[in-house]
Amino acid sequence: MCNMHVLEGERVTRYFGGLAAVSNVDFYVDRGEIVGLIGPNGAGKTTLFNLISAAITLKSGVIRFKGEKISGLRPCRICKKGIARTFQSVKVFPGMSVLENVLLGSLFGAPAKLSRADARAEASSLLEFAGLSEMKTVPAGDLTLASQKRLEVARALATRPELLLLDELMAGLNPTEIAGAMELISKIRDRGVTVFMVEHVMRAMMCICGRIIVLHHGEKIAEGTPQEIAASKTVIDVYLGEQVYAGNQ
């Protein structure tokens, strides 16, 4: 096992009351991959992301990042270790300018200490990367949903992550914006950042993911290349079957 996974989870389990939101899930993500996580609503996708980023605490099982156990650390520590995330319902800092949003990531999230000038330069270049450089001084709350989602990506990248968790980056976007988001994701991968993403837009997932993990009722029911997933009978039964039209939009 010299080829260590970037992110690895073993028997990851979390109950909410009597409900197993995530139960006994084993997963891994390798460096440079784009891995998709799909499943019906309530399957535990966001819960799994919350467990990885420590938004909620892991009670049983273990999550390792580059071979080191990270479950039990606080969110800010996890961010500094190199895991950044975006949120399903966007969480920008609405009253702060677009630049300040990203600057916060450079100043606090990056593993190395940056001078203010360097942080500012990096934040500006990331805004350019995300296509937001025109709006630097605009309060983040005034942006459109698509731009706020891009801003979240820029803010997450400012923390210099090795792994980026994207939670439904495309939800609520129109087809043009979805195309833009897909392009952004492949550009992120080209920067050398590994991507782990939750998404409902199947067409997009089929295009850009190298591997897909399927959750259902908190359990992992399938894993494989997009082609394998699309052909898997279990997956079609529980998930794809009910949303066929969504793929043909």
């Binding site: 920008v92 702060m96 606090f108 803010r155």
Partner: protein, 312 residues
């Protein structure tokens, strides 16, 4: 005229105004009547309370009603240590006792959000007051304490020094990356945590710094009052006034709480001397009008007026 020359001109003028104010306030006791000095001490005290409160609660949005607790700790420190130690040491001790109390309370309660935090911090004021009362009644068998009196010019200078140091700290916090982190907590605490901000640490440290200055202010004021008891020292009014003054001034800018506190403190003095029977009533009406028509305080009003003026 380009923007940078306007900005530098403005900052030069601003610097000059600050320098002149500094000199006026330093030399004031030399020529002003004692009444003015005492009045200004009270105004400075309210500015210290309000700016300290706004230092933490302004950007983070955590509504703290604990100022009276920290103020009271400062007062009791002065009452207990005042006989034994030099004045400056007593005052710094008052600040540090408040600081450590805030660290402890912050570590316990800053996970509470919204109204729960406000209720708990207010409960803290009552808790300490009644504990002290119990202690005095059942253990020491006394009621209240005497504090060594100090000349009003000394009180004035110490309060003034306290205020100047606080303002320097407040400016520094606002402009530093620490200030950015504080604002991000107020905007969206979860996002701040996942962007690498150690939200717990930032909140607790700021809460404690704000408590330090409230504690020193309490220790200074105790020497003016000569006699204190738990309900004088832990008067809930000292929790509410800073909040009202900060809201009246507006917390968006540093000078908002300063102006708010200065106007309110003067207004209080004015009303209490002119209309002793109606003072609370008039005070209340002014407050209601202010909150209804200036939701962002004086700062918001002035910014709105400036923007309007700029366009025309």
């Amino acid at each position: 005229m380009n923007i940078s020359t306007v900005l530098t001109k403005r900052s030069v003028v601003g610097g000059l105004v600050i320098l002149i104010l500094l000199i006026i306030f330093i030399t004031l006791p030399l020529y002003a009547p004692a009444y003015t000095v005492i009045l200004l001490t009270a105004i400075f005290m309210y500015i210290v309370l309000t700016v300290s409160w706004a230092l933490f609660s302004g950007p983070t949005g955590y509504m703290s009603l604990a100022p009276a607790a920290f103020f009271g700790v400062g007062i009791y420190t002065a009452a207990i240590l005042g006989m034994k130690l030099p004045l400056i040491v007593v005052i710094v001790c008052g600040g540090f006792f408040s600081f450590f109390l805030a660290l402890l309370v912050g570590a316990l309660t800053l996970r509470l959000r919204g109204i729960y935090f406000a209720i708990f911090t207010f409960g803290l004021v009552m808790l300490i007051a009644y504990l002290l009362l119990f202690w005095e009644l059942h253990v020491t068998g006394t009621r209240g304490r005497f504090v060594i009196a100090v000349g009003h010019n000394t009180v004035y200078y110490i309060m003034y020094g306290n205020l100047v140091i606080l303002l320097i700290v407040a400016v520094f916090v606002r402009r530093s990356k620490f200030g950015l982190a504080l604002r991000s907590i107020g905007e969206n605490e979860d996002a701040a945590a996942h962007t690498g901000v150690n939200v717990t640490l930032v909140k607790i440290v700021t809460f404690a710094i704000s408590a330090f200055f409230i504690g020193t202010a309490g220790a200074v004021m105790a020497t003016r009052w000569t006699y204190i008891d738990p309900f004088i020292a832990f008067n809930p009014l000292f929790s509410f006034m800073p909040v009202l003054m900060a809201i009246f001034g507006g917390t968006g800018q540093l000078w908002g709480p300063i102006i708010g506190a200065a106007i309110f403190a003067y207004l209080e003095e004015f009303l209490i001397t002119r209309f002793p029977y109606y003072y609370m009533l008039i005070f209340g009406i002014i407050l209601v009008i202010a909150i209804l028509y200036m939701p962002k305080g004086l700062v918001g009003l002035i910014q709105k007026w400036r923007k309007g003026g700029g366009v025309v």
